[in-house]
Amino acid sequence: VGKSKVDDDVLDQLEEVLITSDVGVNTTLKIIERIEKRVSKDKYTSTTELNQILREEITGLLTETEHKDQNTWELPEGKKPYVIMIVGVNGVGKTTTIGKLAHKYKENGKKVIIGAADTFRAAAIDQLEIWSQRVDVPLIKQKMGSDPASVAYDTVASAQKQDTDVVIIDTAGRLHNKVNLMNELSKIKRVMQKVIPDAPHEILLILDGSTGQNAFEQAKQFTKATEITAMAITKLDGTAKGGVVIGVSDQLQVPVKYIGIGEKVEDLQIFNKTEFVDSLFS
């Protein structure tokens, strides 16, 4: 039997689901408002219809990616080598995501090279080197403590010489409220542009799926320093839902491109809006 309006119980339940998925109060209110508007306009809404509307409204907040067809690992024309720079706060999964991405591109016939521009964290270079061996792609590195921008420069320059399709640059984890470290990131980006003026073509912000509302500030500050072009959410194989990306994507108009679902080389997937929104309610 249909109802003419959404009752308070349903809204309370919805609020609980969204808040406990880290969607945040602001975005939750926005979603509820949109639903109330639609439901009072289109009278007699059944529960199934309501669920449909709900999913539509949430999906609508998630920004579209540039390439509509995300199911391929094809690269845009005229951008060779295609340069990807990986950024994010400490421990979110940057280095691991690079290993997985390199593997995907390689599997799809691309020639990949990775650059170890985290010269700071203990054994960060060794970690990336193990990944490079695991997925069998070359690594460009210097000594611990060397200038990360110089490593990035070397990597891009060497990729250009070797007819490489994809370059992926690792960077050290850094908290977004540390001005010097954020400036260093801008510098790494600028230095790569000396080799390829429109590089990096993709700046991927990695967000840990268990992060709460601080993700907003992370995304804002990394955008300020580097103009991120896409996001990846990691560790979604756990119980955390990663709902904060809905508001982040909406506010900054940056799409979510990948999800990380484990520590193995194959545990990277292309982000699927519908599945993601469904997972909030499962």
């Binding site: 808040i19 421990g91 979110v92 203990a122 908290l175 409220n177 840990d208 709460g212 194989d237 119980t239």
Partner: protein
């Protein structure tokens, strides 16, 4: 979002002043503000609800509305309640036994390896101990190398068995080594694991059973959102840990996870991590954390 909860509450109380005595009805709006501040700080949904209810009782009891500055009094009630929930008496790490065995546990990337190094440095420099670090993460690429670098930086030896894929055996052998070499503290680093990963959770229980640690520390990222309660509860159900380490507090997260975890497992927060460098640790201050959660 409220940069200043105090001001926000003051203005909503101004509206209430005209209505005379504080009642269930007219306090509801200000409680909503409190609840929202908590949710913005990542305090768990259910815990924020409960907490707000407790605060309501206290506010009604204190007759907040008759105060000269009702907003300020309300904030004081909220702060005191928060600090009290997270605080109690400061608890130190148990180092009485020879050697004292400390086991690290937590999700991937939370800061276990870094904190193992920080703790070893702290015990060495501040408590004149002679710690042995143990490389018990056999999975993450270069995890052993990372701990070795960390150990070298603080000048503590690291027990490793490259090639051995059994952390239970490694940990056991390390305790033996500590005894023969006269180390009075052993700190066992472990791999990050998800609470839903049954094999990995069994593994950490097995490490616990094998080495009988005097201190199990649950290391958690202070940026964690609503999931903090699930994870803390699962790890505590398995390990009955002794304390919590809250890392990456040098960021600008409000850190509501601190309250959530404290409420759900009732274990003290023993240290906080405040940077990537190995001296960046501090004891936990409940009152500072309360201010932080409220954005003050």
């Amino acid at each position: 979002m409220f940069d200043n909860l105090s001001e926000r509450l003051e203005s909503s109380f101004k509206l209430l002043k005209g209505q005379g005595r504080i009642t269930e009805v007219n306090i509801a709006e200000t409680l909503k503000d409190v609840r929202r501040a908590l949710l913005d700080a990542d305090v768990n949904f259910k815990i924020a609800k409960e907490f707000t209810k407790d605060v309501k009782e206290k506010a009604l009891g204190a007759n907040v509305l008759n105060a000269v500055k009702p907003g300020q009094l309300m904030v004081k009630i909220v702060r005191d309640e928060l600090a009290q929930l997270m605080g109690g008496t400061a608890e130190e790490i148990d180092l009485k036994r020879q050697p004292a065995v400390i086991l690290m546990a937590g999700l991937q990337g939370s800061g276990k390896t870094t904190f193992s190094g920080k703790l070893a440095g702290f015990l060495k420099n501040k408590k004149s101990k002679n710690p042995l670090l143990v490389a018990g993460d056999v999975y993450r690429p270069a995890a052993i190398d990372q701990l070795k670098v960390v150990g070298e930086q603080i000048g503590a030896p690291v027990y490793t068995e490259e090639g051995n894929k059994n952390p239970v055996k490694i940990a056991k052998a390390a305790i033996k080594e500590a005894k023969t070499k006269g180390h009075d503290v052993v700190i066992v680093d472990t791999a990050g694991r998800l609470a839903v990963d049954e094999d990995m959770m069994k593994e950490i229980s097995a490490i616990k059973d094998a080495i009988n640690p005097h201190e199990i520390l649950f290391v958690v990222d202070s940026m964690t959102g609503q999931d903090a309660v699930n994870t803390a509860k699962e790890f505590n159900d398995r390990l009955d840990f002794n304390g919590v380490i809250l890392t990456k507090l040098d960021g600008d997260t409000r850190g509501g996870a601190a309250l959530s975890i404290r409420k759900v497992v009732d274990k003290p927060i023993k240290f906080v991590g405040t940077g990537e460098k190995l001296d960046a640790l501090d004891v936990f201050h409940p009152d500072r954390m309360a201010d932080r959660i409220l954005g003050m």
